[in-house]
Symmetry: D2
Subunit: 360 residues, 4 copies
């Protein structure tokens, strides 16, 4: 590992999100090449042997072996930051143990998302929620979570609209991609020539998590957003990218131009230097038939931020209803990339213990 980059590890490296973490960390300016952790089934194999993404594995990690290590072992090895792609249920206790040993955890798992002291974070939307993790005991790492893959894109698109429109209710119907279920995930016979109008716990997560992220912090408490969020979730046969049909029932009726300007001008991280942050985070399109998963899933500039921007299109404004389609890459913005950006923000805020400017 290089001297000046932070030692890292990926928990659950062989999974679909774990592989996106590997891709993003193969060449990161602040985080060192990760140790790749796996369970019994994949431990000992090389990353390239379990690789499932369409693009080839990063050369820096393709031959790296998946390892089995304990939390204690990781701490002893000097790992300071872990990225968790563990399945919900498995993730919880391991993440708690790591934090207890002073290792920071940035997690894609659902287990701790609703914990009072755990930020559920989308940096452009609720960076100040990071404070929830702020007064941890010395020697403890922060535990920060990114939201459900559908909620991530949704709250990003809603963030500039909420103060402008003051929603009475928000309706969302999703067109979620196959990779949202990981690998092997959805059987081909279940989805070829089909749509499956059910994803376990997904509607609940979207509603609950979005309300928390869009909520208001007072000290160490979050008051969830109070408008109802009414969700329908369905799986369609796309590889990557969750599309969402969103209707905001608005209390206020600004002109359309103000709405467009709010979306276009939104860039609260503009003044920070976070490598994985897209600028702008919302790409507004004016064609009649966008966003589309195939064409817009990789939106986000600069190159390191590919897949981190949300694309908004088909804005239709007939007060009180604002309709739009929203697309984001479920495994990047809604998964690995979300947590990498969270870690960059925490690092920038000096919250990574034992590190440059961090709490030691």
């Amino acid at each position: 590992m290089s001297e000046d980059r932070i030692p890292t590890a990926i928990l659950g490296a062989p999974g679909y999100i774990g592989q996106h973490f590997a891709r993003l960390l193969a060449d990161h300016p602040s985080f060192d090449l990760p140790i790749l952790l796996a369970g019994e089934r994949s431990g000992g194999r090389r990353l390239e042997e379990v690789w499932q993404l369409a693009d080839a594995p990063p050369a820096e990690l393709a031959h790296a072996r998946l390892e089995r290590r304990t939390a204690a072992g990781l701490a002893r090895a000097g790992v300071r930051v872990t990225f968790s792609a563990l399945p919900s249920g498995t993730a919880g206790p391991i993440e708690t143990e790591l934090v207890r040993r002073g290792v920071s955890v940035f997690s894609n798992a659902a287990d701790h998302r609703m914990d009072a002291a755990v930020p559920l974070l989308v940096p452009e939307v609720n960076a100040d929620h990071l404070r929830l993790a702020g007064r941890r005991a010395p020697g403890r790492g922060p535990l920060v979570t990114n939201p459900n893959c559908s909620a991530a894109g949704l709250v990003l698109a809603l963030s500039p609209l909420v103060p402008l429109l003051r929603p009475r209710a928000i309706h969302v119907s999703t067109y979620q991609s196959l990779s949202g279920a990981g690998y092997p995930g959805v059987p081909s016979l279940a989805i070829t020539d089909n749509v499956v109008p059910f994803i376990a716990s997904e509607e609940e997560k979207i509603e609950r998590e979005s309300a928390r992220i869009l909520g208001t912090r007072s000290g160490r408490r979050i008051a969830p957003a109070r408008f109802p969020l009414v969700a329908h979730c369905a799986r369609v046969a796309t590889r990557e990218g969750h599309l969402e049909a969103v209707t905001v029932e608005a209390e206020q009726s600004p002109p359309l131009r103000e709405i467009e300007d709010a979306l276009r001008g939104f860039d609260p991280l503009a003044w920070r230097n976070l490598p994985t942050a897209p600028h702008p985070p919302i790409e507004l399109r004016h064609e009649s038939d966008r966003p589309q998963p195939l064409r817009d899933r990789w939106a986000g500039r600069p190159a390191r931020a590919r897949g981190m921007a949300v694309t908004v299109g088909r804005l239709r404004w007939a007060p009180p209803y604002l309709r739009m389609f929203v697309l984001s890459h479920n495994a990047v913005r809604g998964g690995a990339g979300g947590s990498v950006l969270n870690a960059e923000l925490a690092l920038d805020e000096g919250m990574i213990p034992g590190e440059r400017g961090g709490r030691r």
Copy 2:
């Protein structure tokens, strides 16, 4: 043609809806084997040569030649009932001409759907709208239209719910199949691994037509339903069957059991003997992941009514929001089958001129 069945013709027989008309009329108890009409490109070819449906063409019509005939020619040939699968734009004047010559027209085209004197009909929902066509000049056939493919399933599922819930607003997001665009329709490169969140005029049609069908007739006028209908339309890569995510914002809050009973007990055509009417017209499912296009598109009993029932599932009731998924076969209930059923109703009502019990 047999003595006792009504001579018919299909306008636009080589198209996707035209072929479904052919399938449904190949063996119909009241309507005779249709004359198959086509334009310049397909005229002279045999039906089997232009056949696009997955199942083989009906043996009775496979070798029949597509013909080119004028409205006058059809009338002279004794055709009493025509089924129109012509593209919107083309359909209008031809349908008008046929009606003027005393030939009844049952049309899937959009051109006349909003005409004041033309019923936009879904027999289970607004059979009484047939009266709009009632006092035509002698010697004129009625012109009756079926709605847009997405509206057809939607209003059928909503019909028993409207009086029970008294909607304040209805939200619908569609997952529409490829066949909704006809043949050749959607290019494979446009939709493979993709969703296209736009279908020209579709949202407007759903909103406008649903309001009319669910509206109230007073004499010869229809007062459209007054709740807003807010639609998002998208194309997904399924062959047949439109899925819709529907939320009713309700003014009333009956218990869930009453809602289920209303859906299950709905069968306003039970007392009539219409061959293509499904009994029940709404199939309510209780599995966690239904309806699905692959499995439910052909719902409808008896056998002749396959594809005519709408399947409703995933009922979730958290007042004031009732959520459900609705599925119907776009080319059958939402196309050819809709018009065949309309014709059966008109025949039952004695409204087909020159026919058993009809106005002569």
Copy 3:
């Protein structure tokens, strides 16, 4: 169970082939409604709860419970014929045990296909191989296997051509459907926008089994066909129906018309009355772009024989190379239907012990 139909059971009923067995036996003139057998995971559930086929489960069996029974228990219950859809590896010992107890086994599993005393049977091709099972000890049921799903269609198409062309070599490349791998089978992320040019052991099975089926029996021995069969197997994203590109390098050069006549005139079961036998077993098509999985997978007349015929098209004859495409339904002709037809033949030959005309 009815008095005059033979008591049956399906081994591995919850699997994809098991469900096709259920479909075929729900209403069979000779075989009674089957007992549905399952392993630990599915035992106790109703068939409709595990159903994976696109069409609804047969009404006669939808509510039937999957049971767990031993071979002894089945024999005690009076079951005379079992259809095996067990996975290879599991199937072998269970099938042996059943036969030992006098229960006939018609199996889709690979375990016993190459056993010297076990017919590997496609009735139209090598009905005489049934003799291999002929002199079993009294009280033993016959064990008869159907071939691999790709070999089944191939040998059927080749059967009338072998004597006419005297092949020097046969080349085959397959385009195999998802259902060939069962359920859950192929992950959607592995095959969407992809082709996978590998199916474990498939090429070896096609080569070995085709040679045996097309081989010559002398007494109790089979001399395999001697021409090399060179196979490439690949998985494509179709639901059902295996397409095969076949080239016969021929020693003889009859005119094309003779080849077509041989294919068209082939119907060696014409004189028997086997309910599931298609007539003709080979459907020869002359369109430029057939056979296609979507359109031809269900070939086979009468209705009970749907999916049992092989479709041959694109015949191109430039001696010494005859090229053609061959399509058959992998789960029907190449699976459950194959074994049902084998059982019908065995019954017709009086080889089912304890049965009408059978060996008691």
Copy 4:
């Protein structure tokens, strides 16, 4: 246009291959940003408005307008090199006219591929065929064609094998992607859940063109390769990348290691500096299930040569039959990239008139 890069134009820029040309020429070291030519339908529109590829159009050309110009106009404007993505039939006379006016043409169209004086070129395979264009009259540009999209990958994989194995016959079955038919190309209803075993003229082209490319040049004449090439062509539902199952019936039987070494060591352009040439041109894979369109279509290093390498895998050698799967990107190696590489070779050989080192 920059001073030192060669002025270029793309004929048929709005088509699928035309867009790949635009992508490849947006940032080329030798060829200047192209003028984009289109027909009546697209003329005047911006490239981004007609863009069909999944990735965004190159920033350098996205806003460029499609123009309508005559051959004379192009010559007057100083265009020296044109890349032709015109449809076969249309391309022929326009290409002839351009050459007559001294403009070089590198064409993907089939019209002139078999002309005696026109090289049908794959630089790694038959660079010396460029001589066919060698003694043109002064002031005439060369006309060089790339082969059919399926032939391109095939001959590249065969090139090192032909001298080693001395084929008696070659069998190939293709799994061709949707983009091979251009845009709009294959209707989604024709291919969803389907394979279409026919592509017009494709088998003939593969056989004829491969024989020519693998043939031997004596002066200005090509003696085609003499072994028969027996092809089956089918369309599958992949976006890009043609997969081919290839069997070589060999006269010689070297050990497998020699075959692998021949494939791996093959790099006849190693000593040249052609920007779009992949090194190595053949990527040999040892996994059990590769090559796959999804994963291997973009093979080729360095970055500029993405999609230019052919991937070979599943080598099985049972003399006399060598079996393998071959994959290449139909629109890059088998289309636009092929012609760009041809132009780079011609430039390197000093055959572009009016240019650095060219014949003036």
